[in-house]
Symmetry: D3
Amino acid sequence: MKATVYRKEHFNAAHRLHNPNWTDEKNKQVFGKCNNPNYHGHNYDLIVKITGEIDEETGYVFDTKILSDLIKENIIEKFDHKNLNLDVEEFKTLNPTAENIARVIWTILKQKIENKYEIKVILYETERNYIEFPNA
Amino acid sequence: MKATVYRKEHFNAAHRLHNPNWTDEKNKQVFGKCNNPNYHGHNYDLIVKITGEIDEETGYVFDTKILSDLIKENIIEKFDHKNLNLDVEEFKTLNPTAENIARVIWTILKQKIENKYEIKVILYETERNYIEFPNA
Amino acid sequence: MKATVYRKEHFNAAHRLHNPNWTDEKNKQVFGKCNNPNYHGHNYDLIVKITGEIDEETGYVFDTKILSDLIKENIIEKFDHKNLNLDVEEFKTLNPTAENIARVIWTILKQKIENKYEIKVILYETERNYIEFPNA
Amino acid sequence: MKATVYRKEHFNAAHRLHNPNWTDEKNKQVFGKCNNPNYHGHNYDLIVKITGEIDEETGYVFDTKILSDLIKENIIEKFDHKNLNLDVEEFKTLNPTAENIARVIWTILKQKIENKYEIKVILYETERNYIEFPNA
Amino acid sequence: MKATVYRKEHFNAAHRLHNPNWTDEKNKQVFGKCNNPNYHGHNYDLIVKITGEIDEETGYVFDTKILSDLIKENIIEKFDHKNLNLDVEEFKTLNPTAENIARVIWTILKQKIENKYEIKVILYETERNYIEFPNA
Amino acid sequence: MKATVYRKEHFNAAHRLHNPNWTDEKNKQVFGKCNNPNYHGHNYDLIVKITGEIDEETGYVFDTKILSDLIKENIIEKFDHKNLNLDVEEFKTLNPTAENIARVIWTILKQKIENKYEIKVILYETERNYIEFPNA
């Protein structure tokens, strides 16, 4: 039987929801206040879930200290205290909705973690709006 | 790959657990303090989960503003600051346990949301007791 | 120098805000949804603060186990899973607003705790509305 | 004896810490990541405390529905989904630290609430950093 | 359709991560501060998930009062205010990582709960590190 | 007018409540489960409050990055993943109740922070038991 390890990290960022193929009017209609041209921001809570066997020698599925360092080096360093649209390569052509941010984080971490582990990403944009990728 | 969107809303209600086919004694034995004839109440936290594809144009699985309005119109309006047993049609003949409240909410929302989305309901009766319907 | 001990307890209750000296119309206007004749309810979080000297022998200002028992016997027993308006003597003639509930709790506890301690009561009606009595 | 009412509201905003009288180097040294030229952002939790007498007729110190509307109209409307530095008049010449944001909010609300009430503002920039103005 | 009931309980315990087959050096390297010979400790939050049919007579999947008592008698009684390594039989030869604690709790509860129910255990070691067993 | 800055940090530790001048019987009677000879433990949340003037140049009362480093160097380094009774000098002759831990933390920080600032310490032993020193 397998177990799932959850590790929670945090970053603060500015963003703006915008589709450059649409008129300003349509952007405002679809994205509302989130389309504000001067950006707004969030305290993002990020939870990474790793599923695997419990190692008999360590008693760990995955060392959370190593997982925390991995998330900090690959995600927090890149996203924290940044403007996602302007400062983060991936969102120069991708709308930084919570769904897309979660998918980008998952794609980055997937390459850093052995394939024998299943990984998922939960991203809180606010306490009331959050995303799981891939789906729960 | 799909993603899951979570949206949290809130309502405050009174209720009483009671099975009219049982004696008062059996009701008290099974439901304990929750059977108090004059009702008691809760701050219910409601989380609705919607699973689907991320739309390429919006970057959304489901717009949380629309989801929030949908929940408010169909659930909060009906349940908030109400006595579930006396004021809510569905519970006139159904015992308002957290399980049944979650199922009723799911049944209502299921009819309002396109079939291509999978939906689930998480209902917190207290911080320590909560329900997921359908099952996790 | 003194220290303050905080102990958090919990009760669930139904209530209704109503002033019997007013017309139904005025009650509805002032108390809105909280005036619902069939009651609604809350998960109340109760925090009791006790300020005093740190005892040299125990290292305690006030033993939180004793404080917890005191709150349970005098408050929780009386308020939990009850209808405040109908089941609790003090609210038969007093409107059970969070302010008045906090004051009633303070008055009860004041008589059970030695005068050398200063006590205050914080009462959360919801996560967003709460009261401190006497004032912060 | 008086009581204190607390009401919690929420806004999401982008900001940047910067002193225009300083060199870029000094700004970076003092404000670190918070000086990022493209801004970053936060989910701000705002708690407004009002201290006064409990009104005998209503059982309220201050109706939290009215307080909530007051905060929404005067603060949330102005700050939510905004860039504090660019979109909010008060911060065009004032560095939007949590301290200054709390002071600005207090100054605005002070003019909207009768003098017989004492008001304070608690502003959470993150779960780990927050401010009370005037001081606790 | 089935539903899942969640019940949250709590215990405080000391522990130390250590593999007796390793040198002190290797233990320190792998387990870091968690290998401190004099132990450290945690407030563990324990959530037990039970999945089953909603009973038509009670409206319950599983009575949370009974579930709470079951957890208290079989887990909390045994783990709370204990040193897991020294005071709890199961960890005399098993490293008390969060993964192993969750698995031990699941194994104990599995024998106490009818087979028709599926059970899972979520164990928070800290707010930032937690485990689900079996896997999510 | 002054403002108060709050900064929250965290440490995990084992401890045991015990008065060496008392018999084992009296220790068990007064401290109950907290007297367990093999220790138990907690996730301690520590909030440091600093009150002072808002500096006109920085907009800060006290830079929370500097405050965080100060707490980490002087408190967290010393207390985290430790056995308070055995590993921390101050508690070799002082009972590590939450009251005494808060007082020891305050005494250490008081010497590191300029006298023009007023400082207080809030220490959560559990979510339900916490201390403010000096008193609120």
